[in-house]
């Protein structure tokens, strides 16, 4: 289904429907078998129905994967980030053995060599700051200092190029010596502005970037190959499309770190609000980088710093929500579907997120540890919801416990549609039999 010629003239609802239809009808995918094509269409349709708050043919089941496919295949977490062959083998085995209703992308596992060359400091990753069998973890340092909000607000891109990136990537440290690119005005200034690029240590940064770019291209090719095989041979649709972040989380996760950000909510409120507003256009534009017509129109937002214990409901409403809502509304207008992953819990936020300005059926809410009965009470008829199958049960429970818990969730939540099943936190470890019981119980459920 090609993009309609009159797409820009459609209403947001019509745009969303056109994007979903193109995804379900697999624009641009060539399947290996007719069965795979049929399976893809059925599965994508079940998710599309759930996203649109309809009752799907049966409740679709997803597995939110961390490093589970690698540990399951007998590899390490490090292998996922350093060995394309093992990356491909693990993803294939995982999908064939468990057959959830959706494909997990190999693109979750970024190449460690890139991070090494860049000397990336925001994260530790397997074999580099954390053990080889542990997932990557954020270091939470203050890469933006408290007195730098003004510089960031004045020109976010210049701040990133000459201040943030040189701190967060050791390889780009020399960029702190670069003059602002806005100096490159008029003929007489050009050679002076170009001088730094003749210096060997600055040139070295570009050589590293070129090397990193080559690795990224190679990796992207492998990822496309692996994902394509999953989709075209098994008929599993990829339901995660683009990626974005709530502006408050950009400042909190990426730039200031949790502790500093929490203190800023008392000391730098005005600057936080201004920064969040400034970030709205960037976070609106970001998901389109990974989206092409026919891909899933969902935009995944991992939500962090607005969780229940991380701020008061008052601050959530004042500091976190307005800019986040602005990004969501921009995407909704264009028929994209914000897919909100609430990490931690939102038990105190359910009244706030069901904001009347957000049209019904335009968002998907995926919860980690929020009380799902309350979620249903608040969200049924307003948005698709999912989540909170406990990772602890998959790793430490019995098959019987998994089945019982699954059935209870389905009984409590699935009856009126607009629901699909997914584990709460991303899965690194599980007893394989438990994971089979989880998938099979959902597939066998008759509403």
């Amino acid at each position: 289904m090609p993009k309609p010629d009159n797409f820009e003239k459609l209403t947001p609802d019509q745009k969303r429907q056109a994007r979903l239809d193109a995804w379900v009808n697999h624009e641009g995918i060539e399947f290996k078998t007719p069965e795979a094509e049929k399976g893809y269409r059925e599965r994508a349709q079940m998710f599309a129905d759930a996203f649109s708050m309809k009752k799907p043919k049966r409740v679709p089941v997803a597995i939110a994967t961390g490093f589970f496919p690698f540990l399951y295949a007998g590899y390490s977490c490090k292998d996922a980030m350093y060995d394309y062959e093992k990356l491909g083998k693990a993803m294939k085995k995982f999908h064939i053995d468990f057959m959830p209703d959706t494909a997990a992308s190999a693109g979750l596992y970024v190449p460690g060599r890139i991070l090494e060359i860049l000397d990336y400091k925001l994260y530790h990753w397997p074999g580099h700051g954390v053990p080889e069998n542990t997932s990557y973890q954020c270091t939470e340092a203050e890469f933006m200092k408290q007195n730098e909000y003004e510089a960031y607000l004045s020109d976010p891109s210049d701040y990133f190029i000459r201040c943030y990136l040189p701190r967060v990537m050791g390889a780009l440290e020399p960029w702190k010596e670069l003059p602002p690119f806005t100096n490159l005005l008029e003929l007489p200034f050009i050679p002076w502005g170009m001088l730094p690029f003749g210096l060997p240590h600055i040139q070295e940064t570009f050589k590293k970037l070129m090397r990193v770019g080559e690795i990224a291209l190679e990796w992207a090719g492998k990822v496309a190959e692996i994902d394509n095989e999953t989709v075209t041979t098994l008929g599993l649709p990829k339901y995660q499309g683009g990626f974005s972040k709530a502006p408050f989380d950009v400042v909190g996760d990426t730039m200031r770190g949790t502790r500093a950000m929490m203190l800023d909510t008392f000391r730098k409120r005005k600057e936080i609000l201004e920064s969040c507003e400034r970030i709205v256009p960037f976070m609106t534009q970001m998901p389109y980088g990974a989206y092409a017509w026919g891909a899933s129109p969902t935009v995944f937002f991992p939500l962090h710093k607005g969780a229940d214990s991380f701020m008061s409901p008052k601050d959530f409403k004042a500091l976190y929500w307005p800019s986040f809502k602005a990004v969501m509304l921009n995407l909704i207008k264009d028929g994209m579907i914000p897919f909100l992953f609430v990490e931690g819990s939102y038990n105190q936020r359910l009244d706030l997120i069901t904001d009347p300005d957000i049209p019904a059926g335009s968002t998907i809410w995926y919860f980690d540890k929020t009380d799902m009965k309350e979620v249903k009470k608040h969200l049924q008829g307003w948005a698709c919801f999912s989540g909170n199958f406990p990772s602890s049960l998959l790793k430490t429970g019995t098959i019987e416990q998994v089945k019982t818990h699954c059935e209870q969730l389905l009984k409590d939540l699935a009856g009126d549609g607009g629901y699909y099943m997914v584990n709460g936190a991303v899965l690194d470890e599980a007893i394989p039999e438990n994971l089979h019981a989880y998938v099979d119980t959902v597939k066998a459920y008759k509403a």
């Binding site: 997932s135 973890q137 929490m262 000391r267 601050d315 406990p390 602890s392 429970g397 470890e429």
Partner: protein, 212 residues
């Protein structure tokens, strides 16, 4: 006792709290009484946190205010031995092996200290053997295992097992907490309890040492 200082800390008025502390000290107030005021304020903040009326940012700012008042008071205490505060008990605390998350750990440790415990902080990514050594050296009543990831389940279990193998399991109570922990994981790790937040850790520890 200065109600003004207590109120400023409880109301999260950082600049006021520091100014009030400076004024109190320059007008000759007993430096130790300022620390008592801060402790009282933190007690109130802790109860509000437990009641869901204040949140982690307030605990962190309260810690900051305590640190700043402490820094003002310290020079005035030179040569003046305060009454040794009787501790309720000792807690050996750390984030388990493979996990580098420290925010929850730091907050729990802070609340335990404020509530009268001596805390031995082992840091993050702590191997089981290091917990064993610390328990042998410090003889705590309580061990706290923090972890954010699902990948922390096994290190928690291994740490409890290591304490058992070293013959130390019966000498301590063990609590776990953090992102993906729950009662199910506490049972799996063979810990004594799961605490859902910093105040739960305080309540558990107080219960175990027989304090109110």
């Amino acid at each position: 006792m200065s109600k003004e200082l207590i109120d400023a800390v409880v109301d999260m008025r950082e600049e006021d709290a520091v100014k009030i502390a400076e004024n109190l000290l320059s007008s000759g107030a007993d430096p130790l009484s300022l620390l008592d005021d801060c402790r009282e304020a933190l007690g109130i903040i802790g109860s509000r946190f437990a009641a869901g009326e204040c949140f982690v940012p307030e605990l962190i700012l309260a810690g900051e205010m305590l640190r700043q008042v402490g820094a003002l008071v310290k020079p005035k205490l030179e040569g003046k031995a305060g009454p040794a505060q009787k501790k309720l008990g000792k807690v050996v605390f750390g984030t388990v092996e493979g996990d580098i998350h420290d925010i929850a750990k730091d907050i729990v440790e802070f609340m335990l200290e404020v509530n009268g415990f001596e805390v031995i902080d082992l840091g993050v990514d702590v191997p089981a053997a290091k917990f064993v050594e610390a328990v042998q050296a410090h003889k705590p009543e309580v061990v706290g295992l923090s972890g954010f990831l699902t990948l922390a389940y096994d290190p928690m279990k291994n740490t409890v097992q290591a304490l058992k193998d070293a013959g130390l399991r019966d000498s301590v109570k063990i609590m776990i907490g953090g992102g993906q922990m729950d009662d199910q994981v506490a049972a799996y790790a063979k810990a004594d309890a799961y605490g859902k937040d910093a105040m739960a850790a305080v309540t558990l520890s107080k219960g175990w040492v027989g304090a109110k």
